[in-house]
Symmetry: C2
Subunit: 204 residues, 2 copies
């Protein structure tokens, strides 16, 4: 017989399949609900089978990080000016977070080496920055700051709802804390401020 499966036996487990299923499970059940046993179930397999393709849960999560970062390379095209490039990166990051709300938190402890998965965008942006007059070190700093601002902003979204709606000095700070529209506006304000302040020293 040819290699066509006579019975609809499952196709073989693969590192790719494992990583992709892991991302799905995390997005569905959250990071806390993500369990090797659940991952196995999602793959139609026993938990321990996963360990044939991944050395540990931590390493698996590193793989998930890289898979997410790779998604940053696709999207509407990057503008050539540094400001546009950086804010496009930020927007892709926010889209990534919306797509993977559970897994996005993994980016906090990123292994640094994982950045390589986003090499194409990063390279584009670095060249935009160079073209825009940033010195090498300053370009790297600008990029890192935008990335960390964006990730950090997403990770620090406060949870519970606002309790004291009146006559508290904290009132204005807590108001509309959970409103997604305000969240968007806040991010845009912050990003614009950061980019303004990052512009390279003019050399007239």
């Amino acid at each position: 017989m040819a290699s066509v499966n006579p019975s609809p036996a499952r196709e073989p487990l693969t590192r790719r399949r494992v990583l992709s299923a892991a991302l799905d499970v995390i997005d569905r059940d959250g990071l806390d609900g993500f369990t090797m046993r659940r991952l196995g179930a999602a793959l139609g397999v026993e938990a321990m089978a996963v360990y044939r393709h991944v050395p540990s849960k931590a390493a698996l999560l590193d793989g998930v990080i890289e898979a997410m970062l790779a998604e940053l390379n696709v999207g509407d095209p990057m503008p050539a000016d540094w400001r546009g490039a950086l804010s496009t990166l930020a927007r892709r990051h926010r889209a990534l977070e919306r797509r993977h709300p559970g897994a996005y938190a993994l980016l906090a402890g990123m292994p640094a080496a994982a950045y390589a998965a986003a090499r194409p965008v990063v390279a584009d942006i670095l060249s935009s920055l160079a073209e825009g007059g940033f010195a090498g070190r300053d370009a790297a700093r600008a990029l890192r700051l935008v990335v960390r601002f964006t990730i950090g902003f997403a990770l620090t979204r406060p949870s519970g709802d606002v309790p004291p709606p009146h006559s508290d000095p904290l009132g204005p700070v807590l108001a509309g804390l959970a409103d997604p529209a305000e969240e968007d506006r806040l991010f845009e304000v912050g990003l614009a401020a950061l980019l303004d302040g990052l512009a390279p020293a003019e050399v007239p």
Copy 2:
């Protein structure tokens, strides 16, 4: 007999004592190494004893968050100008992180109500901002942005060390990634940029 203990029996467990010991254990063993059983041991008590003073581990961690935020109220005095006030808050935050490197990550999911523990500083800063010409909504936004930038920056410190030291377009981005001095400089650059961009629209 007076209330002096005849035998050096341990003094009674208290919510305060529990929270403080929890903070110690977290700082020593990290968030992952923080276990109810270990906390009990640190208090010279069985794990379940803690539950007389705290309804669950999650609630306990909320208490730890509030304890940390309360520390923001002490430190060298706050300048009256909004820029100085905000950057003093940021500096206190960074000191807090240095003091509690393990527990600081809890601030990511802060319950929003916990902000109340920092009411004094927050009130000071809001009045500085008002004095500086910020409208109510803008003042709250500026404050929230600085806080989230600062916390987010701390939480997104990349872990592993830099692998490709040469001839990679990513070279400059990964270089000196783990150097604490560069980390400080990066933070100062970002904070300055953010504050610059946040200045209220001038009304001449």
